[in-house]
């Protein structure tokens, strides 16, 4: 049986990146997103023409096509829109399964996706559940349930 060759790049593990910029104007690229997640916060882009906000790797606004984008802070709380409980996982997450992965709408309307910590069964998660971003211990974007 062959194994996957080489390491899979999990962007939120500590890794060098060299795109530190003096201004926050310009396209939203992967290192900015990764760095913010590692630091326990979220950034997206905001269009300076139409005001649309989203978290995407993006050079032109998805809503109006403008290239005038700036990097903007996003809310770190939101609610679950839909989810799955991964029983069979990709190799990198084998020891974590079962776990929840979900699509989340952040307060303010921007949508994102990621794991929800400590959920092993669909009985422990519901659509509409309030969640907040965690500082990621391992890899990827991770949220946790909050009680409000």
């Amino acid at each position: 049986m062959w194994e996957l060759q080489g390491e899979v790049v999990l962007y939120t593990s500590s890794q060098d990146h060299n795109s530190e910029k003096s201004t926050n104007e310009g396209p939203l690229l992967t290192p900015e997103i990764s760095k913010s997640v590692r630091e326990g916060r979220l950034v997206g882009y905001q269009c300076l023409d139409c005001g649309a906000k989203a978290i995407e790797v993006q050079a032109y606004c998805a809503k109006c096509g403008s290239s005038k984008l700036r990097i903007a802070k996003l809310e770190s709380r939101g609610k679950v829109l839909a989810f799955t409980i991964q029983a069979v996982s990709p190799k990198e997450f084998k020891n974590d399964a079962p776990y929840a992965w979900s699509v989340i709408e952040l307060d303010g309307g921007v949508r994102i996706s990621g794991r929800i910590a400590s959920i092993k069964s669909p009985d422990n998660l519901r659509i509409g559940q309030r969640v907040q971003l965690m500082r990621s211990e391992k890899s990827g974007i991770v949220f946790e349930k909050i009680l409000e």
Partner: protein, 387 residues
């Protein structure tokens, strides 16, 4: 620019399942079958597209020259088209365009995939490379997980049930029983589906297509060339459509629909000057049971939220009024990624030339294929008729 008429003149396929052969070997066998079926020599082929997604897992890229050399035509240009699970539909579309535009007269399209050398977990990881990896694969979502999330959204919005999803699998396995080249030959019940192990809640093993090896090949030609060379037209390609969409689920306003499918089918039907009501049967992209439900709604076979009911009523069975996936679909026939979209065209060829044996849909005149890349980042739709 006006487009030339293009015909589908032959088709061939290996059996789908586990194979000791490489993707390259499988491609040669499928291409040879397509060539021999119409007694065509390889030198009539002027160009080729290869559909393949995970050749690098076999440590083999640049498959085109290897396959052309293996056919004895090393000078013929061939390049790989990769569009995740819609690599096949996309490669077919490119060949269609090349002939329609007058660049070539005869083209071969071969889809091939070899995945069984990988463990389930490693294969699952490879498939996540077709997601928006930053937000999906790298955060733990597998492909079953992404479609499971769409299933949850669909169940929430339309009250679709797990029992209804299971009906799709039961029907496709029933069709697969009648296809000797299908990966799975197993009649299953709703109960079997519901009791099978969970892959990604709410999807279970029998909601999911298998990991398959296999290859499929088709030959396309301009109708001008066929007339000049005294060959039969067999099947006409009436319409071709393709569209893109957001790669990630979270970028979409609606997770219960695949916009690229809607747009691709709209283009194909406009070009064909037909509507969905004219279609006698369809091979649709059912990588998971929920995918067939969503496809039926996006393509317009039924109203939104009504697909599950139509499946329950038996309308999509071979003897129903809208037969879907007579081949057994990805679910039962199998899903060798690069081959899948071409394999769908092979089934349309078999049906429209009355060679589908026990699964023949009597009197079928118009068939369509619908091939989705990943969770809808791209889709291809084609419409065919008997000449």
């Amino acid at each position: 620019m006006s487009l030339r008429k293009v015909a589908l003149i032959s088709a061939g396929s290996t059996s789908y399942g586990k194979s000791l052969l490489t993707g390259r070997d499988l491609a040669l066998l499928a291409a040879k079958e397509a060539l021999e079926r119409i007694e065509m020599m390889p030198y009539e082929i002027q160009g080729a597209f290869i559909a393949n997604a995970f050749g690098l897992s076999e440590r083999q890229g640049h498959l085109g020259p290897l396959i052309m050399s293996g056919l004895g035509i090393p000078d013929i240009p061939a390049s790989t088209i990769e569009a995740a699970c819609s690599s096949g539909g996309s490669a077919f579309r490119e060949a269609y365009i090349n002939i329609a535009a007058g660049v070539y007269d005869v083209m071969l399209v071969v889809g091939t995939e070899k995945i069984s050398h990988l463990s389930t977990e490693v294969a699952t990881t490879y498939f996540t490379f077709g997601s928006d990896y930053l937000f999906e694969g790298a955060c733990g979502a597998s492909f079953p997980g992404l479609y499971a999330t769409m299933a949850i959204a669909h169940m929430q919005k339309y009250e679709t049930t797990q029992e209804q999803l299971a009906q799709v699998a039961v029907k496709n396995h029933e069709n697969g029983m009648k296809n000797e080249k299908a990966h799975l030959h197993k009649r299953i019940s709703v109960e079997d589906v519901l009791q099978s192990s969970i892959v990604a809640y709410p999807l279970k093993m029998y909601d999911s297509c298998p990991f398959s090896d296999g290859a499929a090949a088709v030959i396309l030609a301009s109708e001008d060339y066929l007339k000049k060379n005294g060959r039969d037209e067999s099947i006409s390609i009436l319409g071709s459509g393709r569209a893109g969409g957001y790669g990630s689920l979270h970028s979409r306003d609606d997770m219960t629909s695949i916009r690229s499918s809607i747009l691709a089918s709209r283009e194909a039907f406009n070009r064909a000057n037909l509507s969905i009501k004219d279609v006698d049967f369809a091979e649709v992209h059912d990588c998971f049971t929920i995918a067939e439900i969503i496809a039926m709604e996006d393509l317009g076979f039924v109203e939104r939220g009504k697909a599950a009911q139509a499946v329950e009523q038996g309308r999509t069975r071979l003897d129903g009024d809208i037969p879907i996936n007579p081949s057994g679909g990805l679910k039962s026939k199998g899903h060798p990624i690069g081959a899948t979209g071409i394999g769908q065209v092979v089934e349309v060829f078999e049906q429209l030339t009355e060679n589908a044996g026990e699964r023949q849909i009597k009197g079928a005149k118009i068939g369509m294929t619908h091939n989705v890349g990943a969770t809808g980042g791209s889709s291809a739709v084609h419409i065919f008729t008997r000449s």
